[in-house]
Subunit: 658 residues, 2 copies
Amino acid sequence: MTQNVDTLFTNAIVLTMDGKLNQFDPGAIAVKGDSIIAVGPEAEIVKEYSANEIMDCGGKVLMPGLVNAHTHVPMTLLRGLEDDLRLDVWLMGYMLPVEREFVTPEFVRLGTLLACAEQIRSGVTTFNDMYFFEDDIAQATADAGMRAVCGQSVMKYPAPDAASFEVSIAYAREFIKKWKGHPLIVPAVAPHAPYSTTPEILRTCANLAKEFDVPLHIHISETAFEVETMRNEQGMPVVPYVKKQGLLEAKVIAAHCVHIDYGEMKTLKHVNAGIAHNPSSNLKLASGFAPVQKMLETGLNVGIGTDGPASNNDLDMFEEVRLASFVAKASSNDPTVVPAATALLMATRMGAQALHIGHLTGSLEAGKRADLIVVDTSPVHNSPRFRRNPNNAYAQLVFASKSTDVTDVMVNGKWLMRAHELLTLNEADLLDQAREIAQKIDIFLTAREQSVLSKLIALGGSMEQESFEVQVKVKVTEPDLLVQNMKRPEIEINASKHYLQYDEYYMFEDPSQGRLRFREDNLLNEKGDVENVRSRLTLLGQKREGEIGHDVLLSRSRFLAPAIHTSRFYREYFKPTQVISIEKDRLRWHIKYKETELFVNLDHMKQPDMGYFLEIKSRTWSRKDADLKAELVNELLNLLGVGNAETVTKDYIETLLS
Amino acid sequence: MTQNVDTLFTNAIVLTMDGKLNQFDPGAIAVKGDSIIAVGPEAEIVKEYSANEIMDCGGKVLMPGLVNAHTHVPMTLLRGLEDDLRLDVWLMGYMLPVEREFVTPEFVRLGTLLACAEQIRSGVTTFNDMYFFEDDIAQATADAGMRAVCGQSVMKYPAPDAASFEVSIAYAREFIKKWKGHPLIVPAVAPHAPYSTTPEILRTCANLAKEFDVPLHIHISETAFEVETMRNEQGMPVVPYVKKQGLLEAKVIAAHCVHIDYGEMKTLKHVNAGIAHNPSSNLKLASGFAPVQKMLETGLNVGIGTDGPASNNDLDMFEEVRLASFVAKASSNDPTVVPAATALLMATRMGAQALHIGHLTGSLEAGKRADLIVVDTSPVHNSPRFRRNPNNAYAQLVFASKSTDVTDVMVNGKWLMRAHELLTLNEADLLDQAREIAQKIDIFLTAREQSVLSKLIALGGSMEQESFEVQVKVKVTEPDLLVQNMKRPEIEINASKHYLQYDEYYMFEDPSQGRLRFREDNLLNEKGDVENVRSRLTLLGQKREGEIGHDVLLSRSRFLAPAIHTSRFYREYFKPTQVISIEKDRLRWHIKYKETELFVNLDHMKQPDMGYFLEIKSRTWSRKDADLKAELVNELLNLLGVGNAETVTKDYIETLLS
């Protein structure tokens, strides 16, 4: 008597990816309900089991579905939006502004369904996500029939789904309660990264994960800059820092780990943390080469992920598996490391273990859920086939198979794709909706990119400042004498400061865009040491608004923002056609003269060497006020002994350009 | 009146890849005969041209066919044969032995047709080949309708198609004469690499290429080892060396250039050499990261190649283009280098220029041959699509398109694929033939791998040596006294030598395989300095053949080969289950005693420290002779004052194992 099951897979090259890497050719598998009942040589299995549905695999490969160990699925909708940029420009200049504007529950649902369609097509059965509105992501994933660890993001910044960290934590708690125990979804909490959270956030997230015994998903040591900053600010690398916050008491899934040292690997191994290695993303963003071989030698479970499709730009795990092997070989200068079988293991059983769901999926073994895929290795790009040793089968899959060779996909005992046909998703409809969103994003960004001003606003934190100024500038030949004259009793000094100023002026093809000035102000103390550094970005109108008489000008600076990024960031973001740098030493007095507040600057133009200049400035609000102040300024010039000095009507930058 | 052409492509996103990177959306192209007549906005083109065949591209991308700048097409038949090995083990241990056995004109024809099928499917219209029997490769390529530069290999070693270099050169000359002027095939000469040729070969090949004005295809600086060896032996890196041989007077296509410096780049640029960058191969074989960004900055034409499918393991140029961008970014630590447009340019116009056929192909421009492909960028893995800036289109192709997205291919005005259907090749038939060859290769290698002996023979250069020996070994407590006794008048010394010997013994699971000994003999001069190093490989039977009396043994060593590779090579190639290393100091005398030649060794076993031993040996050829010599040996032991010493019946290695 044979035992009856639901589905019998026959006539397959079965790669179990189990502990012994058993292969059966021809092999067969029996599936009942959501689980695998038996795996073995075809002759044995068909003797023992019968089924209503017999799936003749036609000599194709039958193997566990791939595990995508790190991604942000809704970002399918931002795929190819902007590429070939540095991480900060890409993230702060494009991703975050667009996310602030567009990310809603509907957005993440659509993006998730698109990602599921792509991943099912390419043989992924399980993925590990981190994004916003994770409840909607989990629902969409369950609707598509895929397995996922869904991590609700928590950050110190306002997010599209939460105005504060407390709101996200509350959301995460409800989310975990709701989904805990679901047959497909494993809820998780995802403190975004050490640099985007606080010790309190990390501790709270770890406690939440422990309370519900769910995984904790976090980015760790993705860039060298992140590690350097942590060392400078905390005196330790990233893993000890998160350990100090109690984070490693949870079931951690650490994405990236590009820049961790041997001690950190041992620490992570000790707490059984899973690693998600993302070769495409690390290459494309030039994050570095993760020490995969060393992590494997340490005994860590290293899975493979695509990262979000906006930094990849797809969810193709066949590509990632190949790259995991390629990159490990090249970066360790040893072509024997991470051989095909190891790479495939990382994308299956070891990947599932890294996600702390190794008991559920990742290999074809009796008792595990039926998450499996059929791969055709007969196309011309994978022919001929050698069968001499067991590695030949893994090499075919890792070095020459394409994701489009996946023909059939089953998750949790349910068919999601048969003969390249998706069964749970309406692909055409999803593509239509995605097209609409992309058009809206294109319009939003196109409008923003039309002017330097709107690009500046998109970065956030800038303020408009309508500052009309009375201003005069004269050449100074005897600066010491002028400093003496500043002590005259008619001049009441409120404050005096000494700066070293580094300015970068960004010029644009269209002069009506104005000029952007990146200024780094180094405040010097009496000894001449730097006491404080402040950077500001100012968008300046392209010309003066008017002149009063011959010498006194009215000007307007339009927009002001604290420059929280480097000048390199702004150059790459604004893409000026020309950049001019100026270095000057500035003595600055805030004075009162005849009850009127004025600013006096004595500038020593050091780079380029242009000598000394005196500037007198005062804010104004009407033409009449401006006329009065212009008169006071002229008086002051005489008082300072430069009444007859040559007047300069141009900005330093204009002098340099002319 | 409209002008009549053969084919009109309409409703396409036309990426011309011309000098201005013009894009037309919707765009159109007119093709007449083998050439492109016009390219432009659809509205303009359809007003000017009419055609019998209108190809509505349905909004897909229409672009120049990809140029695979370096490959060995017949190696499709060796794809996946053996992977994850070091270059030397892979090449000397597997590729060369199989090539020696299987490569024939029929083999290269089949392998070429398979490669054409794969390349047409993946949007390649032109490739640059280097292999044996290139005449048959050229014919197969022309039959498939593809464009190719076909380089006939020339080496200093015997090749499958030539017993000597003179024969290859003669073959190459006839080959070039025959194909020069063909509409699809550009014949070329391909001196394999500086290390596998001689100055004379390089000079002769350069002269041949100049005589017929055809390209010269060569591997340059693929590995650091190659460059180091060249520096040691010639006192210069690789490019100056080939320049010295006059090679750069030809139209050079230099494959790899992983390890060239800035001076070498300038030299190559000066002579307008083309570069073929092979990212997958360089990663998989851990050859290193080619300085692509620096080569581009130098102004070199850098194309992209797959290398042979045995070291890749496919001919997928979409993968290579993506990797060219990824690897350049990661290795230069700058995500802005080799952006999508540049990577695609390298695989099209710049690739064609690198092959010195930029006037024929590589971009969609009036006057060039009609080599073009249609790519569907609407599948779910490439959706949605942003259109805000021109880079979006390149990013889609480079970062998310798959080779399977290519739907239609035309070369030289002739359709090779329509809607995924190959028109010039019978794919099923090719796959059947390939399967047969693979089975034969599997059988050949399986037989070879059955014994250590056959693997040793497969490497070449080994000789059988049936050496029966009379041998005795005793422990020595007073080595200085023994050295004194060697001066006794009864002993006639023919020669005496002093060696440091490093032995590695490889043991195998099946002891009947015998043991392999890798011995490095360091001959020392009187000062104790190393004068000469020689390495040998000896396959030893697993036990002694017999004993004479109690002390004197008969032994046989079976196979002997000069060890031209490193011990690391042999360990990886033979995969022993155990390796034991021994280091000893040996004083060796070749003596005559009573008209009989004998060898006397005084061994100081240094590592592991086992003390001193005396060995007396003599070759023998009959049992009777052996009995006589055994008696002489015993006499000699007494003469040397060790007649009563403890006899050792085991080899050093057996003592260590027991």
